[in-house]
């Protein structure tokens, strides 16, 4: 029988039992919609995390004390104090593939103005920090190298602090003096708002001061928590990492065969780590959704078995007028493929709808990747064939005489 006629026969069979056909499609519809929504949210989140990270500068390199932690080895606390002033100075004077460098010391606590206070983190940095992290100052200006030399009690603050301490985020707080751990800091600049990042962290709740000030007056430490810097370009990140690694290993007198007592990570690597974490989560969710497709396939098989039994007499008749096993087989296979593909189409539509709702009502970053549509469609075609096969074969193997006699 020609494809056109097979399609027509299958279509008629499905239509003659609309409600039942719809019920057997329902599993596929829900399964496909679930897979698509999961993938859409997974992809969307991954994309927005990447966007976030690249907003912090794609050529960002971070040096942390201690050996590479990715192996999961516990840190020895003495390793934590390996980044010293000398390292910073060597990088500034020797590294050629690095544009901006800033040592970093952090401290957190309460910041007070008059009767108001709020909890925040103080970042002790060099003035180059703003260029590295792509921050811009909206009011006033950043502190200077001069301030660093003098360990001046000045700072740059984010909008959240202005809001909390002065009651209005647009208040021009430049020149006001706030207190952190009883040390007065004069505000010299206000940062342009960045908003929340994808982990729900308020990026505007920051206070940036000269690192010398933080080290001497706040935390009394001689080492840095980390050093951040910008590679000349994103492409040169790896080369810059190597260059700086060599400088620091020499400074720390690390033998050829020993592991470094610091770790340099590029933003690129962070992005990849984040992406692969997101991918893992997405895969787990999609696999869960895919199981519902498996169940849906079993549902289709069940309905097809019922349908074959119900139409035993018709099968006998078709055989008696010359239908071969393969003709009967194709007839039922096409019917089950049609059910699963129609289900897939409806599921895809529902998936798009769900993804749209996730975005507009639940504010989730969600965008349906086109390949997930193609994938769902092919998986459903496969389900139609796989779960339609047993019923179709049952039909094709019937004995025409017995089938004709079936009541």
């Amino acid at each position: 029988m020609s494809i056109k006629n097979l399609l027509k026969v299958a279509f008629t069979a499905i239509l003659s039992n609309k409600f039942r056909s719809f019920l057997s499609m329902l599993g596929i519809i829900i399964g496909v919609a679930a897979v698509i929504i999961m993938m859409a949210i997974g992809q969307g989140s991954k994309q927005s995390v990447r966007d976030d990270l690249s907003k912090m500068g794609t050529n960002l390199l971070t040096i942390r004390p201690g050996a590479d932690m990715r192996g999961g080895v516990r840190r020895d606390p003495s390793e934590m104090q390996t980044l010293k002033m000398a390292d910073y100075e060597s990088i500034v004077s020797e590294a050629t593939l690095v544009t901006h460098v800033s040592p970093e010391v952090t401290s957190s606590g309460q910041v007070i103005y008059g009767a108001k206070n709020t909890t925040t983190s103080v970042y002790g940095e060099s003035p180059e920090y703003l260029d590295i992290k792509l921050w811009t100052v909206e009011n006033g200006s950043c502190f200077t190298e001069e301030d660093v030399k003098k360990s001046a009690k000045v700072c740059v603050v984010g909008k959240t602090i202005v809001q909390e301490l002065f009651g209005d985020k647009n208040f021009d707080a430049v020149g006001k003096t706030i207190r952190f751990k009883s040390i007065p800091f004069r505000i010299v600049g206000i940062l342009k708002a960045k908003g929340y990042n994808n982990w729900g962290m308020d990026q505007d709740n920051v206070m940036i001061a000269p690192y010398t000030t933080v080290m001497k007056r706040l935390s009394a430490q001689t080492y840095f928590n980390s050093i951040v810097m910008s590679a000349l370009s994103e492409e040169l990140s790896d080369d810059a990492t190597e260059e700086v690694t060599n400088i620091l290993r020499r400074n720390h007198k690390i033998k050829e065969e020993d592991e470094s007592d610091f770790t340099i990570r590029s933003q690129q690597e962070w992005m990849e780590t984040m992406s692969s974490t997101m991918d893992t989560i997405t895969i787990i969710l999609v696999v869960a959704a895919a199981f519902s497709l498996l169940v849906a396939g079993i549902g289709i098989m069940n309905i097809m078995l019922v349908s074959v039994t119900e139409r035993t007499k018709e099968i006998g008749l078709r055989m008696s007028v010359g239908a071969r096993g393969i003709d009967i087989m194709s007839q039922f296979l096409i019917e089950s493929i049609m059910i699963s593909l129609t289900g897939a189409l409806l599921g895809i539509a529902l998936g798009y709808g769900g993804s749209w709702m996730a975005k507009h009502f639940f504010m989730l970053p969600s965008s349906v990747p086109l390949w997930s549509v193609g994938l769902s469609f092919s998986v459903c075609a496969f389900i139609g064939i796989f779960f339609g096969y047993v019923p179709a074969r049952k039909a094709a193997r019937m004995d025409p005489i017995e089938a004709l006699r079936y009541e």
Partner: protein, 252 residues
């Protein structure tokens, strides 16, 4: 006994046996049947219930294979054929008519008649429809093409079934108690149709319980316990049209 006057042999059975295994027992439905049927014969097959008529007809219709013996249909030996080859043979050479019509439900007359041609790739949609319409006209249903099977009387349904059996222009038309479900008058109408087909030169094999019907055929084969007990040519064939005319008119 058979006429060997140069007519082509359409069907030849050579000592055909068919056993059924039912549990530990073997039912020997056909115990060695041999005969030849020539082109243009109208053969009735009679016998008591359980004598093997349907089993024999299923052999002739390539719906079943003999346990032993050979069956040659229109020059082709059938026994060693594969399932799909027999399906094609049924499609091209055989028209089967059943006692209970076996039409597809919710399907129009013309679509029912088209069914065998659906499985024949040499017909396109247009040729198929034309052939179906011609076959329906031949059985007097030219004005009922689009009627659905459940909107027709028994006699009409059987005519559709006959049209379906004729649509592929088969070498032989097989009927298993084709008039068994019909009243006397309708039976005679159907019989007229078969005689008309006979006159046109069709080969017909007609299984029946009704001894009267044998009078309208050209040859009668009697079965008893799976063997032929009588095979007689009918030299004085009655005309069903006369019998129909003689029937008392039924009141509306």
């Amino acid at each position: 006994m058979n006429k060997e006057n140069g007519q082509k042999v359409v069907i030849e059975l050579q000592n055909v046996k068919r056993d059924f295994r039912v549990g530990s027992e073997t039912v020997r439905a056909l115990r060695g049947v041999s005969f030849k049927i020539h082109e243009g014969e109208f053969v009735t097959i009679m016998g008591t219930s359980g004598s093997g008529k349907s089993t024999l007809l299923n052999q002739l219709g390539c719906l079943d294979t003999p346990t032993s013996g050979e069956y040659i249909l229109d020059g082709t030996p059938v026994r060693s054929m594969r399932r799909s080859e027999r399906a094609i043979l049924r499609n091209r050479k055989i028209g089967f008519i059943f006692q209970n019509y076996n039409l597809l439900a919710n399907t129009t007359a013309v679509e029912n008649v088209e069914l065998p041609l659906m499985y024949n790739k040499t017909y396109n949609a247009k040729q198929r429809r034309q052939a179906a319409i011609r076959a329906l006209q031949a059985v007097g249903l030219g004005d009922r093409l689009e009627h659905k099977s459940n909107q027709m009387s028994g006699g009409q349904m059987q005519r559709v079934a006959i049209a379906r059996a004729l649509v592929n222009n088969p070498a032989v038309v097989l009927a298993d108690e084709a008039t068994g479900n019909l009243d006397t008058r309708t039976s005679f109408e159907i019989l007229c149709l078969f005689q008309e087909l006979h006159r046109q030169g069709r080969t017909i094999i007609f299984v029946t319980h009704n001894p009267d019907i044998a009078l309208y055929s050209s040859r009668n084969i009697m079965l008893r316990d799976g063997v032929i007990c009588e095979d007689k040519e009918n030299t004085s064939i009655l005309d069903a049209r006369e019998a129909l005319a003689a029937l008392p008119k039924e009141d509306e």
